[in-house]
Symmetry: C2
Subunit: 104 residues, 2 copies
């Protein structure tokens, strides 16, 4: 699916890590909360409130979930789940385009 239809798109950007990670929040046609974002190469740690599904649209990252010792690589059209009230470390190898879905 190349577009999301019937979306409510928040105008102002989310800006993290001095602009190295930015995203746009929106509600999809089912009222589910998502964001489309860009990560520049670098290493970051993200905390979660809700559980999240992170889909990589383009680029390459390595991810280590909290309480794990394993780094897993993700590229375009792959995804990973992050539990609620947790965190993950991410090494962004190339400019990465992603879609984050916040799960209930």
């Amino acid at each position: 699916m190349s577009t999301f239809k019937n979306v409510e798109l928040t105008k102002k950007a989310n800006v993290y890590f001095d602009g190295n990670v930015t995203s746009r929040s929106f509600l999809d046609e089912n009222g589910e909360s998502k964001s489309l974002g860009i990560m520049m190469p670098g290493s970051y740690t993200f905390g979660t409130n809700q559980a999240e599904l992170m889909e990589i649209l383009d680029g390459e990252v390595e991810v280590k979930l909290k309480d794990s010792d394993t780094w897993n690589t993700y590229t375009a059209d792959t995804s990973f789940d992050v539990p609620a009230n947790s965190s993950f470390d991410i090494k962004v190898k190339t400019i990465t385009d992603y879609c984050c879905s916040y799960l209930k």
Copy 2:
């Protein structure tokens, strides 16, 4: 207006200048083509096909339109027009969040 309702949002990002400028394209509820983007500090030149309205949501830029000798400063809640089939030079002073409307 803090959100756009009933939008068709393109999933993949537009990435320019090695990721220093990125944006998301969408069609608003009237079918008008727009994009929400982020510019990192730096100097860039953009060409236009259609005429464009550039709204600065946050940040600070200086802009010089093609065939002009004047640099004008724009900050949050100000905007500038760019003719069709033209170009503009822009000096991004701070991380800048913008909305571009493509005019018919």
